[in-house]
Symmetry: C2
Amino acid sequence: MKIGKQTIKLENSPCIFATSSIVGPKEMQGPLAQYFDANIKDVFFDEKTFEKAESKMLESCINNLLVKAGITQQDVDVIFSGDLLNQCISSCFAIRSFDVPFLGLYGACSTFCEGLILSSLLIESKAVKQVVASASSHFCSAERQFRMPLEHGNQKSPTAQATVTASGAALVTDKSVADNGIHITHVTPGKIIDLGVKDMSNMGAAMAPAAFSTISNHLTDTGRTIDYYDYIITGDLGIHGSDMLNELFKNEGIDISQKHKDCGVLIYDEENQDVNSGGSGCGCIASVFSSFWFNELKAKNVNRILLIATGALMSPISSSQGESIPGIAHAVAIEREV
Amino acid sequence: MKIGKQTIKLENSPCIFATSSIVGPKEMQGPLAQYFDANIKDVFFDEKTFEKAESKMLESCINNLLVKAGITQQDVDVIFSGDLLNQCISSCFAIRSFDVPFLGLYGACSTFCEGLILSSLLIESKAVKQVVASASSHFCSAERQFRMPLEHGNQKSPTAQATVTASGAALVTDKSVADNGIHITHVTPGKIIDLGVKDMSNMGAAMAPAAFSTISNHLTDTGRTIDYYDYIITGDLGIHGSDMLNELFKNEGIDISQKHKDCGVLIYDEENQDVNSGGSGCGCIASVFSSFWFNELKAKNVNRILLIATGALMSPISSSQGESIPGIAHAVAIEREV
């Protein structure tokens, strides 16, 4: 049921029954290493190209999800997936090995929450029972597509974020089939917000206004305040984008600094890893939610979170044609039954 | 409700209340010219680049849809859209001008039916009432991205299809809000089928097995035969891919040649327009359904169609890395109340 202007309350609050994550070597040097299910020792993952490595990583992540959930691919009704590569090839080639209907998404780094929103709405429709939402990114395939060949060794701007090498996947279920008490209760799909930021090295600035819009509208629509949630978790604004989001709320008289966490900030060690403004990429929030945060929910350390995936909807071509960067943010309220 | 292995029966059979189409100059020289709502005289559509022209075409198509349906953007709950460009920029920049939640899709030329499937399932969930499903493509932006710069003037293979310059959009509604008797009764989201075709100039061959799989499974799941439908409408297998689909059914003892129509074949005049195997691109089935076929349904010339959008999920990078072309096909059963 739609409440307010932009939010949907899920009458049957589907369950996030299981998650799976896999990350690259750099992410394993970061502070969340112990939470990831799997990792690849080498960015090529025994493949000949970065693109094939990314695809294999996502395929392995979904296979591991099925194992963790104790199901087979015959039990899955639909797989949603998306990534950053042109024509979403890491998803298309990864899902090729599954005998399951596939619905491809493009939402840049907002893809994982877009998948969770659609998965929960499909289950709400009673049409399906078990849906996978997944996303991936790979530092090396993203660098050469969006920026420079790695061999170029170019300097990064301090506001630039590093694309995370990671995949994450979640199994969303109808509670009648499988229920662990962790539910999606509300979803707020985002509108495109573009305040004219053109700097491709500062995508946090392009996405922060979209995150602000979606979070604000979610709170208005639900009649909730920031205090309702244990954490407001974005992915991925990075260090600079997170500062901007805090500032935008401060202008409204709301202090979110204690409640707000950003997956792009959490995944790396700011002091000891050379990542400038933090992590980004579809795989960042996908893997950090599917490891650390899902673990916190299961361990009952956290009861209510608002998960917001933010995307910068530009391409190298749109930027070279002088366009600004449209931002989007999709929010999902995840609550543990207490 | 899921019936069989891959099909969902929509208990509340959402309505396709209105459609809108816009095409380029070449499509206006074809046999369907009289059915399109709008056309652009020049491929640049008063913009400086092909990409911006494609975006503007899609934006204008959705605006016209709202006018035709007699609603404003405030009445729309969600817009689905996708296209062929890297990072789906024609959709992202087109939808930027709407104050409506946006969920981006990537399904190559299967995008329009992917959007219809998700629109109808969202309405089935009772979460929303009015959803737009849209898609676009542009010959010039696609040529330079996937093939050669236009200035190169390269020869085309006889099996190659020409990307259509067109956008199409449909408004899917909950029947309680708006109903014209034209309903989506069943949807069959497709699985990825890859039989190893590697020729980027023969995408019909890569997609025909996916179309065969989805149509066959749809018929098995619903207990229907080809005879149930007035037409089985694919988009876009082209001339060669259509022959293959016919052949695949013939091997099963089923003659679909009288029932089957392909939007890529319909949109151009094979004799007098130089398009080799016919049209393709997300905008082809989107615009041909949204004009000719929707008109036929409204005029009561046609009562039951199975609409199947097929996509080739490769990229120039995956092909240059030696990969084959994964195909997908999403089917939507559209039936007029009689």
